[in-house]
Structures are given as C-alpha cells and as structure tokens.
C-alpha cells in the first residue's frame, strides 16, 4: 500500500465542503506558511524535489525561483486546470472531490510567489467543476482564508476561476495566458518566458493543479520528508488516471516506487486486463507520449523492471522508452489496432492545432489523411516512410510543444509497430475486419551483453 497524500481523505463523506475538510486537518499548511517567509516556502519546495505534474516534469521550486520581481509590478499565479490531454483526468478528480485541496495549495503558493490575484484556468468542458471550485472559494473567503489580510497576516489574495472555451492548445502555458487575457489562444513565441512577461505582461507562474495541490503536504510535512517518498528525482506521490483495457479504471495515487507491471496487474490498482486478454501496448503518460509495446513497457531495454517514475519510464530515450507525461495511463489489449489508435490520435491533434505555425497546421492534417488511408486499407508502403518523414519535419520545428505532441505518437507507433502498419498495407481487405493481434509484442527482448 503506497503512501497517500493528495487522496488520503478522498473517501471521507462530505470532504467537498469546507467544514469537513477543515475538520480533517485542512488549511493547516496556510497557517504554517503565513508564519514563514515566502523565500522559505520556495526553498521548501525546492528541497522537496517536486516536479511539474502537467507533463514536462520541470522542477517546481526552480520554476518559482525564476519569477522576475520588478519593483511595483504585480505578479500572478495561474493554475492550469485545462486538462485536455486524452486519457488524463486526474485533476478533474481532485478538483471535483476535494476542491479545497487546490484552494489551500493556491493560497500557500500565492503567498510564496507574492501573487495577490491568482487564477484557475479550467477547461470549458468542466463546467460543473467550475461551480464546485467557486463554491469552495466562497467558503474559504467566508472563513477568512481568502480576501484581505488573510488570518491577520497582512497578505491579500483573491482567486478567480476562468473557463476556457474547449481548446486543447489552451493548456499550453502561453496560449493559456493569451486566452486568460481574452484573446485568441495562440501560443506566444518564447522568450520572453511567462516568468518575466506573462499575464498582462506581468511575471507569472503557470502550474498544474496537481503540482499546486502537492505544495500542501510539502509545507505540512516539510520538503525533506516529501523528498523521502519515491526514488531518485521522482519524489512524492503522483496521481495516475488509468483507462483503457483494464479491470479497474480510475485515478490512483502512487508513490513512484512500484513497477509498471504491478500497477497494471495488482488488485490495488488497475486489477489486470479484462476477459483474460493479454497486454499489447500502453501509453503511460497521456496521448502525446510515445506508445510502447508490452515487452518494452514492462522491462527496459537493459532488461530491468520498468518502474512508474520519471527516470525509469524515460529510460532508453525515445528509442526504447517513453515519458511519465501527465499520468494519463492508457492500456491497450491484444484486440486493439495500433493503426486505428494512431489515426484517432492524429485526428485529435489535427483538430486541436491552433494553425499558427506551418509545420503543425499542415503536417497534422497530412498525417491524419495518410493514417486514414492506411486504416481504410488503401495504404501503400511508401506511406509509412512518408509519415516518418512528416513527423520528423514537424518535431522541434514548431512554436509550441503541440507539434511534438502530434509527432511523437506517430513516430513511436511506426518505430515499434511497423510490421502492423505493413500488415495493414499488405492485407487491404483483411485489415477491415480483422486485427493484427498481439504477435510478438509481448515477447521477451534479447538484451545484448555489453
């Protein structure tokens, strides 16, 4: 049983309300933090080794220390609740069931960063959660945790919830800022970075919901205690939203020491794959991270057991590894078609590209069309190489990471499942009714002795 921090009280009835949340020890971190200096809180977060939970895994304390502090210019904290990555729904769970956890983390973080006005940018589809958050903010305000002179500390803080209008791209921090300012959600060209010029040209920190929530246990128990949990640079706990062909889809809090195999098959977590099917592939960190076949997922290319943490999942680079990403864990069993799956993802990225820069605008649509062609049995062998070439020319050449996010799934699918693509092309009629199946994707990989 791994240690639970964020979801420790998730089962308590009525935890959504302030009364129960406070009774269970809520807002202790604010009391503690307001007696500290802001720099001490940043230091504590640095010590904790907390890494951004939105996908990139950038050290949070370091990000906070980058924020510019020009005289007389307000600073802002923006919480990125635009959770739109397919397969990711961890923030939704947290905000829906324990909204005060986020509010508490935001007050502490706002104090640390010197933000008197903080924002939650929430995806438009989470309309009902907007109401939940606003109720929680009202409750916090009535009890003196928000507003002017919080708990007599002299620190003022207001939190506003802003709904997006249903664009994946607005989860990219600079596009989010543009959208928050009321403009078209096009990513900005960096530099300047948000830490220097963010919302209304003011220094801004944009953090994921889970990152900000994790500040609460860090302050309560101390950064060093938090860093004790986990392995290496993967400290603390991580929320994983598991879905796909598993017995128990849902949001799990893990402490990043367990193996991928345990996570999929143990009854504590996903509970195995239904109907006695076998594992074929998995995307462990949200749709944009590379897909891995079963054999590479469970063991690294070195032959070690792969663990559910930042380092182990990315072991081997993109050649044989993947990424922790946002924690959207999607499991595919032997009946799933990788070509169809890749096509679905390509369709998503084509639809969500903002259209600002040419490689992403044109390339995502092109990839989708070719994948559709292969999926519908009209593909040619040259299309596979063409797809590879297109993704190569998108990756790294765009303004924001959406180009990479669109390119990686296609690249990984071709890298690991090329024979399935070829089978589709060689069997144009069969592929419409049958699946390629598991084949060799779960076979142990020969590890050359160095």
């Amino acid at each position: 049983m791994s240690k639970k921090l964020l979801l420790a009280n998730a089962h308590v009835p009525g935890i959504r309300t302030y009364e129960v949340y406070r009774r269970e020890g809520g807002y202790r971190s604010v009391e503690k933090a307001l007696k500290m200096k802001p720099e001490e809180i940043v230091e504590e977060v640095k010590k904790s080794g907390l890494r951004g939970r939105g996908g990139a895994g950038f050290p949070t304390g370091l990000k906070w220390s980058f924020i510019a502090k020009p005289e007389g210019v307000p600073r802002h904290l923006v919480v990125n609740a635009d959770e739109s990555e397919p397969g990711t729904f961890k923030d939704r769970y947290l905000m829906e069931y324990i909204p005060h956890y986020l509010i508490e983390g935001m007050i502490v973080s706002s104090f640390a960063l010197g933000s008197n006005v903080s924002y939650i940018y929430i995806r438009g589809e989470y309309a009902w959660i907007t109401n939940i958050l606003e109720e929680a903010i009202d409750e916090a305000k009535q009890n003196g945790w928000l507003g002017k002179n919080i708990q007599g500390s002299g620190f003022d803080c207001e939190i506003y919830v802003q709904r997006g209008a249903g664009a994946y791209i607005c989860g990219e921090e600079t596009a989010l800022i543009e959208s928050l300012e009321g403009k078209r959600g096009n990513p900005r060209i960096k530099p300047p970075f948000p830490a220097v010029k963010g919302v209304w040209e003011r220094p801004t920190v944009v953090n994921n919901v889970e990152t900000i929530a994790a500040v609460v246990p860090i302050i309560n128990e101390g950064g060093e205690a938090y860093a004790q949990i986990g392995i290496g640079k993967s400290t603390g706990t991580k929320l994983i939203s598991a879905c796909g062909n598993i017995n128990k889809p849902g949001v799990y809090e893990i402490d990043m020491t367990i193996s991928v195999e345990e996570f999929i098959y143990s009854d504590e977590y996903c509970g195995g794959i239904p109907n006695g099917k076998k594992l074929k592939a998995c995307i462990p960190g949200g749709s944009s991270v590379p897909i891995l076949p079963a054999n590479l997922l469970l063991t690294t290319a070195k032959g070690e057991k792969r663990l559910m943490n930042y380092e182990s999942l990315s072991d081997g680079g993109f050649a044989t590894g993947t990424m922790m990403g946002s924690g959207g864990f999607e499991v595919l069993d032997e009946d799933q078609c990788i070509v169809k799956h890749t096509y679905t993802l390509a369709r998503f990225y084509r639809h969500e590209s903002c259209g600002q820069c040419s490689p992403c605008r044109e390339g995502t649509g092109w990839m989708e069309k070719i994948l559709k062609k292969i999926e519908t049995g009209k593909g040619e062998m040259k299309d596979i190489d063409l797809l590879w070439d297109i993704q190569r020319k998108i990756e790294g050449n765009t303004i924001c990471p959406l180009g990479d996010a669109a390119a990686w799934p296609v690249a990984a699918a071709i890298r690991h499942f090329r024979d399935e693509f070829e089978w589709h092309i060689l069997n144009p009629e069969k592929c419409l009714t049958e699946n390629f199946g598991l084949r060799h994707y779960a076979d142990a990989i020969h590890v050359p002795v160095a």
Binding site: I189, R350, C354, G355, S358, E362, K393, G396, N397
Partner: protein
C-alpha cells in the same frame, strides 16, 4: 553581466561571416546586414510590424554557440526573426544540413494546400511563395489528397481575398491592428481550417486598408482595381509622389504603368519586399492614393524604380544595378558584333533626337511620332 559591462556591439558569426551588430538585433536582421545567401527567407516576419514573425518557420537557423559567455549550442532550431543575437553567437544557416532539411519541409508544408493557381493569380511574378519554393522547395509534391478550400468571402470593394492561397502569416492582421484604430478582420477557426475573415462578413473599410495588400506575401489579398488587368511583369514600376492631405500617408508610391496608363499603385518596397521607411517611419499610403489616383497627372514621376528583388519582375529589367565588366567584344574573343539591322534607325517610330533606350522613364506617346507628323 551588469549594464555597464555590456559591449556596445555584439559580434555574431553567421555562416562563417562575422559582423558587429547593435544589441537587441535579431539573427535575421543581422543576417540581412550581411546580405546575400546567408539571409534566411522570411514569409511572416515584417520588420515594420510589431509582434510579427515566428509563425512560418522558414527562417529557422541553427545556433551552434549561444554566446561567448555560454557557448552551448541551442538544442532546437530557432526562428531567426524572433531570436536576439548574443555577443559571440555562432549561427549556421545555409551551412547547416539540419536547417536546409527543415526549410525544405516547411516549404512543402506551405505548398501542401496551396492551389498553385499562379497562372491566374495576380501576385504571380512578385510572390514570395514562388521565390521561396523556387529556391528551397522540391519540384514535385508528395501530397495526394484534395486540397483545402474555403467559402468565398467578399471583404469590400478594394481587396480581393483568396483564402486558399493564404499562408496565415498574420501580417495583414498586424497591419490592420497597428495602422488603424479599428481592426475588423482577423483569424477565425483553428488548425488547418483557420481563415482570415471579417467578423461577421463585413467590408474592410478604412483609409489604410490597402496596405494589407502590400504586406501579403502571397496572392491571398490582391488589389481589386488591378484584378486580371495585367501581369505584373508587363507593367513598369516608376517611383512617384504626390502631396496627399492625409497626414498619415507618406505620399511616396510606386506606380505600375504601361505606356501612359497607371495600372496599379503600391507602396515602395525595400530589397526584402517590405515597405520602405522614410525618416524612420514606414511609408504606408492611403487608399485615396492607392485606388483613386490612377492617372499619371495625379503624380510627380521621379524615375524608374530600382528593383533588386529576385522574382520574375526583378530580374534587373528596368535599371541595371551592376553592369557586367566584360564588353561584348571581350566575350566574343575580340570579334566585333555585327549589326544586322538597326531597327531603331529605320523604323522611325520615335521622334528624331529621342533615344528611346536612354529614357529614364517609361516612353510616353509624346516620344513617338504621330501618324500625321
């Protein structure tokens, strides 16, 4: 580094050519100061429009060393139009295979859904996309699907919008936002169906809207008053000016003429296809000058425009910038050219004493003999 210790000039090396530039210069502008082949192409960047650039990705370059202080290379290719130089920066443009490969990809992406209707496009001959694909693209396409189309939209009496040709450089959006008080058009929708449009279908109507045509690098925005009247390479550009009452209008323009007839009026352009600056201010012109003053008598003609651009009309047709050093005799190993027939002397179409080839302006009807003379 403190403010005082910052060097007054930054040394930057682009494709092994080192140049001193002022701090704050972008890589692209530093490369433009060197000129020639090391200048990356730019489809969306427009130095006179604040916020432009970074979108088309044709100007991507490799930074092999960030600066003297931090000589690490940058991991990704960067948009040279939006990346400032640092002292001691080493940039690779045409000397980098990565850059050339990426640029080829960008050109392919830009042409992917482009209708390639150059034969009926008014921009043909002065189109930056034509130049770009000629210089950096491939002859064929690997795209085999139906090209994207849009619903046609009428944006007023002066400007013709062809959304299929648009590369979404956003220049027209910036020019409308920065030149006029009220921008009525912008980009709607997203991704590959993003489109330039007015919200909702109204005419673009302000005194400076015509400049949108001049900043458009492709044939997406063309002059309705010039539409299908002539090919640009048949018209002769002359510099002219007039006293315009509009204080924002610079009154300096290029007239595109054929004989006495003014076919089109545009702003004057610099070697990079951008509007020329006068006293540090971009020389935009008003719609009255552009669309209403279509008579040669409205203007004071200054002389032939010097065109140094590389497209069809720019092939030094009108004013030779550099005369070849060799004479015909040298080229022909000392043999003198033999004149077969001096058309000029026997046709007698022009007035005696007027050497048509030495005119510094387009030939007028007054230069020719009339039938009754």
């Amino acid at each position: 580094m403190s403010e005082q210790n910052k060097p007054a000039v930054f040394k930057v090396t682009i494709d092994n050519i080192t140049i001193d530039v002022a701090p704050g210069t972008t890589i692209l502008n530093a490369a433009r100061q060197i000129g020639g082949d090391v200048t990356p192409p730019a489809m969306c960047y427009y130095s006179k429009l604040e916020g432009s650039g970074g979108k088309c990705r044709t100007c991507l370059v490799e930074v092999a060393a960030g600066s003297t202080a931090d000589p690490r290379p940058m991991p990704k290719l960067v948009a040279s139009c939006r990346t400032g130089v640092m002292d001691g920066m080493i940039v690779k443009n045409i000397t980098s295979d990565r850059v050339l490969d990426a640029r080829e990809g960008v050109v392919e992406f830009l042409l992917l859904n482009h209708p390639l209707d150059c034969p009926i496009c008014d921009q043909a001959g002065e189109c930056h996309l034509q130049d770009l694909s000629y210089e950096h693209g491939n002859a064929g396409t690997r795209y085999e699907f139906t090209r994207r189309t849009f619903k046609k939209e009428d944006i007023g009496p002066f400007i013709q919008l062809h959304m299929t040709r648009c590369i979404l450089c956003y220049r027209c959006v910036y020019v409308a936002g920065q030149l006029t008080n009220q921008r009525v058009h912008g980009v709607i929708d997203r991704g590959d169906h993003a489109a330039i449009s007015t919200f909702i279908s109204r005419a673009i109507d302000n005194d400076f809207s015509g400049n949108m045509i001049d900043v458009c690098p492709v044939g997406a925005l063309t002059d309705k008053t010039f539409r299908f009247k002539n090919r640009v390479w048949f018209t002769k550009p002359v510099d002219a000016h007039r006293n315009c009452d509009n204080p924002q209008c610079c009154g300096k323009a290029t007239l595109w003429m054929r004989g006495d007839e003014v076919y089109r009026v545009t702003v004057r352009k610099d070697p990079f296809g951008e509007v020329q600056s006068y006293d540090g201010k971009p020389g935009w012109i008003c719609n009255t000058c552009r669309f209403d003053k279509k008579q040669a008598r409205d203007w004071v003609v200054e002389g032939l425009t010097t065109i140094s651009r590389h497209s069809v009309i720019g092939a030094n047709k009108y004013k030779i910038l550099e005369q070849p050093k060799e004479t015909i005799e040298q080229v022909m190993d000392g043999r003198k050219p033999k004149l077969l027939m001096d058309i000029h002397s026997i046709s007698e179409v022009n007035k005696p004493g007027i050497e048509l080839s030495e005119l510094s302006r387009p030939a007028h009807s007054t230069d020719f003999k009339k039938a009754d003379e």
